[in-house]
Amino acid sequence: MRSAFLEPSRRRTALVTGVASGIGAACAATLAQAGWLVAGLDLHNSSGESTALALTGDVSDPASVREAVRLTESRLGPVDALVTAAGHYEATAVDDITPEQWTRMLRVHLGGLVNPVRALLPGMTERGGGSIVAITSELAIGGGDDGAHYAAAKGAVIGTVRSLAAETAARGIRVNAVAPGPTDTPLLAPDSPWRAPAYLETLPARRLARAEEIASCVLFLLDEGTFCTGEVLSPNSGAVI
């Protein structure tokens, strides 16, 4: 057992995807604040303010992810935690979803979880510990208009999280998800229906979730949710209860 969870002397390392903006950026900042060493992976260059290592790569491409994991481990050491926040959204009516759009959704969200997990599991297994948090969505639970491909991909993430949790618990690995409701990030366009005051009035909390709140949920699951696995936390302003 060489898990950093049992070695307080070594700073724990987290790989966070989608780190250039929104929830991913907030996760990197919150984790760094709590003492984690953060490697960030994004399709776009990130400022790197919260990250000890900023990597550019595509989570939907297994080879790109393997290279990111290799670089992270060579620069920062073993990866103790994975946070998958890289995401992609587009509002499309079900009739209009092209096969290419459908496939891209699955590759980014489901591939964005499975690719880094496949690269990291052998190390976590060998060290006897690790923690994985996938960012999914309230839409995976409740569904919604004009995003069947997004909901399907995010729902697949939840199914994967639950199965991975059951399968890897005996190795000391915990796998959980956070399913935010509409959150104030660049993924929500300025004219998004989720920003409309009439919609916000329907939310029990009457406002969008903040990226920092999602990051707090992630930090809880990594640092203190030590008996949580296969669980989905829903900071969604009451959108789905």
């Binding site: 307080p8 604040q33 009457r206 406002r207 709140e213 203190e224 008996f227 302003s237 009451g238 209860i241």
Partner: protein
């Protein structure tokens, strides 16, 4: 793949800012059923996070005195199933320490038995302590939370309230009722800045385990191992792990969790609560 390594800007591990270390400074919390087990761990955690904790037990006495002193809190005796006692307690607390802004409904009573033969009064005592008692306490603290302009309520449900359990109809019904109560109050009170959420612990290492062990004719360690065998993480939970979740759900900096049930069970339930 281009990479770069900016200078390390992370603070040293284990040294987050004081505010995030003690997020409950200024909070006045009431924890019901807090002399032992999960309730005691919750009281200790909230106190460590800076809260002044009113420690509830069914009756006054040395047990309660010790538990309150252990967390630097105040004694808050009342039988939660007795509406008059609950309202009188909350009124007294208001005079003594001020309005409560964090409530943790943890007090519970449990017996098991076949539904057909379960003593009727005892069956209802389970429901009226766990579900009706929570209703009484929440109703009693709401006016004070509205005066303070903020509130966080955490209801301690149970894995069995999510999954059901043979021989535990009254307990499971009461705990499932608490989840639905949490969902409804999550919707009803969030617009007022009062957030209601629940935790659903799985098997946890508390004095209740001794009762289970005696009923099963096992030693305490055998009981722990027997439960652990059915849990993916391979062990039972610790009260401190439930307390950590309660501290998280009562953190006033987080305002987007409403009506949710956080399951803390080592991976057993595989359900959405």
């Amino acid at each position: 793949m281009p990479t770069r390594t900016p200078p390390a800007v992370n603070p040293p591990a284990g040294a987050p800012p004081t505010e995030s270390k003690r997020p409950h400074v200024g909070t006045r919390a009431l924890v019901t059923g807090a002399v032992q087990g999960i309730g005691r761990a919750i009281a200790a955690r909230l106190a460590a996070d800076g809260a002044l904790v009113a420690v509830n037990d069914r009756v006054p006495g040395p047990r309660l005195d010790e538990a309150a002193a252990a967390v630097g809190g105040v004694c808050a005796p009342a039988d939660v199933s007795d509406r008059a006692q609950v309202h009188s307690l909350v009124a007294r607390l208001g005079e003594k320490i001020g309005d409560i802004d964090v409530l943790v409904c943890n007090a519970a009573y449990m017996t098991m038995g076949d539904l057909a033969t379960h003593d009727e009064d005892d069956w209802w005592k389970v429901v009226d302590t766990n579900l009706t008692g929570t209703f009484h306490v929440i109703q009693a603290v709401l006016p004070g939370m509205r005066r303070r302009g903020r509130g966080r309520i955490v209801v301690v449900s149970s894995e069995w309230g999510v999954t059901g359990w043979p021989g535990a109809t009254a307990y499971a019904a009461s705990k499932a009722g608490l989840i639905s109560l949490t969902k409804s109050l999550g919707r009803e009170l969030a617009p007022q800045g009062i957030l209601v959420n629940a935790v659903a612990p799985g098997v946890t290492d508390t004095p209740q385990l001794r009762v289970d062990a005696e009923a099963a004719g096992l030693s305490l360690d055998e009981m722990r191992r027997s439960y652990a065998a059915g849990i993916p993480l391979g062990r039972i939970g610790r009260p401190e792990e439930i307390a950590a979740a309660v501290a998280f759900l009562t953190d006033f900096r987080i305002g987007s969790l409403a009506g949710q049930t956080l399951q803390i069970n080592g991976g057993t339930s595989r359900c959405r609560a």
